[in-house]
């Protein structure tokens, strides 16, 4: 069955709403409008306004309400239109959702799933193009997942809802229209392990979410030159599946990290640091990072392209590493 990433997400929502009556979806324009990116189109008609709830434009309020509902025994899915607007709910996410289990001595859990769009590449300019998932991956008490494939878009939500603690699910905006094959019996997938999306022995390319495709495209180009790249999809950004990444490095001895976040203090820095801590004597070349240029994301198409990690940049970095 060929469906788009968007449809896979919708199927996951539909399944969750059908299977568990504690599940409901709320967010800006998720109901009558069908979601800013069309993910929840048709769900209001199918499940009614009690379970598909349009909220006022106040991220702090509706994320807070989601936390309250989760504490009260519900399994809320909160959609924040994009990660850029989640900043208005940072206090709720970081000071409440992430901390309550700890502060209540384990008495209270917040089984909340927050979905949001992340990333640039669609000429939405500096205020609508952030890739801040790396920031959230800094916070203990949160689990951060980033489906990059149709299968993960379909399967990660249910597993996230099973988690007794808050899970933030990041959907890269460039992926919604991407079609792909999905098995008819596709089901929940794990949200613990990174995945090797392409095997190769010469260099490890690490990506996630929107940068997985960049890495895979680069790997194809490298293969044409006889360089076999192994592509690791992180899938879960916190807790990081260090083992899968480092095992790959132990095979290839070269590491290139592709991250749409800015380089400084980023997820790519974290991975590089862990490779240096745990696999230094496996590295046969300096670690390479391909990140977004350290500027606010430009609006102009050619400038935005220049700022973001492109497959050609990954190819160049991999060539430097392979030497």
């Amino acid at each position: 069955m060929t469906i788009t990433y968007r449809e896979a997400l919708r199927e996951a929502l539909r399944e969750a709403l059908t299977e568990d009556e504690r599940v409901f979806l709320m967010g800006e324009d998720v109901g009558a409008y069908g979601g800013c990116f069309g993910v929840s189109l048709g769900l209001l008609e199918e499940f009614g306004p009690e379970r598909i709830r349009d909220t006022p434009l106040s991220e702090s309020a509706f994320v807070g309400a989601g936390i309250g509902a989760a504490l009260g025994g519900m399994r809320p899915i909160v959609e924040i239109m994009t990660v850029n607007f989640s900043l208005l709910a940072l206090d709720q996410i970081i000071n409440n959702a992430a901390t309550l289990r700890h502060m209540s001595g384990g008495q209270l859990g917040v089984p909340l799933v927050i979905r949001m769009t992340t990333g640039a590449g669609r000429q939405l300019a500096a205020q609508h193009s952030h890739s801040l998932e790396g920031w959230y991956a800094h916070i203990p008490g949160l689990r951060i997942i980033a489906p990059a494939t149709i299968e993960d878009a379909r399967g990660m939500l249910w597993t996230a809802l099973e988690d007794p603690d808050p899970v933030l699910l990041f959907e890269h905006g460039s992926l919604y229209n991407v079609p792909g094959e999905l098995a008819a019996d596709a089901a929940a997938v794990d949200i613990d392990r990174a995945a090797i999306r392409r095997a190769g022995g010469d260099v490890t390319l690490v990506g996630y979410g929107g940068t997985l495709r960049t890495a895979l495209t680069a790997a194809d180009e490298l293969a044409a030159d006889g360089v076999e790249a192994e592509v690791v999809d992180l899938r879960t950004l916190r807790p990081l599946d260090e083992d899968t990444v480092l095992d790959s490095v132990r095979r290839t001895h070269r590491l290139v990290i592709v991250d749409e976040g800015w380089r400084t203090g980023s997820l790519s820095a974290e991975i590089a640091a862990r490779a240096a801590e745990a696999a230094l004597y496996e590295l046969d070349a300096p670690i390479e990072r391909v990140c977004t240029a350290e500027v606010p994301i430009p609006y102009a198409k050619q400038l935005e392209d220049a700022a973001l990690p492109q497959a050609a940049d990954v190819v160049a970095a991999a060539r430097r590493a392979v030497g």
Partner: protein
């Protein structure tokens, strides 16, 4: 660099400096001076030959003038920028007695007051500082350069080694100091590890070389047992037919051309490896790479301990007497440390024969990155079922240690079967 000249006269004097003859050249050696003091030189004249460690390069001079003094003798290695000679305008020195230069009239290097203060505080003599500012003026950075040249500009002192390459070098017993830079990766270490370091050792260094051979063997064998999931198979081969045939063969040739059974076993092994290519090659980067032809490594034990594994290029393609000749030649030279570079090429399969000492079979350790090792024990007469009767036959136990990553037991069994069949039809090994 132009300096005002002492002695009350502003003549033009140029230092002729060690040039940078390439982005990666840090120092050079004068191989030859083509001028001597008093020679008149012109811009573009070749004045010296410099060894850049890559090549000998003719070096031109950039000024017209007369060579006043050669500062650096032939053979000395100096950093880029070191003055090598002084080239002046050829005007005679003014009589010293007339003007009698005072120390105070020595030209003061150009430097701003704050830089002078800084240099004074830091105890740096400005005369020794090379100015890079406007008009050759000395800047604060120039003084700092003198103060902490290492901290300011980390010289890639010789060779940089990747951490993985460094680790491998330790494991494989490769001396990194012997490898050419500027950057060493794992592949350089692997390449060096394939060249047995002890191959051409001078006699005097024997104990040390033996030590290093022990370490090489230790590193390689540890790596083999650590990384390679070995599986072992063995077969007992009846050599009656082969030995009878060999006996007949030897009757027809002169004493010096007689062939020993080992040569037969080696040729059969090479031919069997060609028939079962999955055991002939290397496990590299997580995958099997079949060998390009059969290059058979031959484990040769040395009398003083240790072993060498010279490579025989495709013994399967040689006539049996050629195999024999090569075998005795290589073994003799391996034991006197005079192997040729072609015999140090990486083998695709190794064979070891411990039968001389009576051992019945060998459960070998594979020589990485190869994927198999063939062992032969002693050929001895033993009871053996022949048809439905018990006979006494010359038997040899052939063993195979193989890398289970690269092949499975069935492949190994096919190899041993091929080996047996080849030895049952010795005329095919002629």
């Amino acid at each position: 660099m132009w300096w005002p000249r002492p002695g009350g006269r502003w003549g033009d004097v140029a230092d002729f400096l060690m040039p940078s003859l390439g982005a990666d050249m840090d120092e050079g050696t004068i191989l030859e001076w083509l001028v001597k003091p008093g020679d008149v030189v012109h811009r573009g004249d070749v004045v010296a030959v410099v060894d850049t460690s890559k090549a000998a390069v003719d070096v031109e001079c950039f000024t017209d003038g007369t060579v006043e003094k050669i500062l650096l003798p032939v053979g000395e290695k100096v950093p880029v920028g070191t003055p090598l000679a002084i080239i002046g305008d050829g005007a005679p020195e003014p009589p010293q007695a007339v003007t009698k230069p005072e120390p105070a009239t020595k030209p003061q290097p150009l430097a701003s007051p704050p830089v002078r203060t800084f240099a004074k505080q830091a105890g740096v003599d400005l005369a020794a500082v090379h100015g890079t500012g406007r008009g050759g003026a000395i800047t604060r950075a120039d003084v700092e350069q003198v103060l902490a040249p290492r901290a300011r500009r980390p010289e890639p002192a010789g060779v940089r080694v990747s951490p993985y390459a460094k680790r491998l070098a330790g494991e494989l017993g490769v001396d990194l100091a012997t490898l050419p830079g500027p950057v060493l990766h794992a592949r350089d270490v692997h390449a060096a590890a394939r060249q047995p370091v002890q191959a051409q050792r001078p006699q005097a260094e024997r104990p040390q070389a033996e030590q290093s051979m022990r370490q090489t063997i230790a590193a390689l064998m540890s790596r083999s047992k650590r990384e390679i999931p070995h599986y072992y198979l063995s077969i007992t081969i009846d050599l009656q037919t082969a030995l009878e045939w060999l006996h007949e063969y030897n009757r027809g040739v002169g004493v010096q051309d007689r062939v020993v059974p080992t040569a037969l076993l080696i040729k059969a092994t090479a031919l069997a490896a060609a028939k079962v290519p999955a055991l002939n090659g290397h496990w590299v980067g997580g995958a099997f790479r079949p060998g390009d032809g059969v290059r058979l490594g031959l484990a040769v034990s040395l009398r003083g301990g240790g072993l060498l594994v010279p490579t025989l290029a495709d013994p399967g393609a040689l006539a049996l007497n050629e195999v024999m000749r090569t075998l005795s030649d290589v073994v003799a030279r391996a034991r006197t440390g005079r192997l040729r570079s072609s015999e140090l090429a990486p083998a695709t399969l190794t064979v070891t024969n411990l039968g001389d000492l009576g051992a019945e079979s060998v459960q070998g350790v594979i020589y990485p990155p190869q994927v198999a090792l063939v062992g032969f024990g002693a050929i001895s007469k033993r009871p053996w079922a022949v048809g439905d009767l018990l006979g006494v036959r010359p038997l040899v136990t052939a063993t195979l240690a193989a890398d289970h990553r690269a092949s499975d037991g069935a492949i190994g069994a096919r190899f041993l079967d091929a080996l047996d069949k080849l030895l049952q039809r010795p005329e095919g090994l002629r």
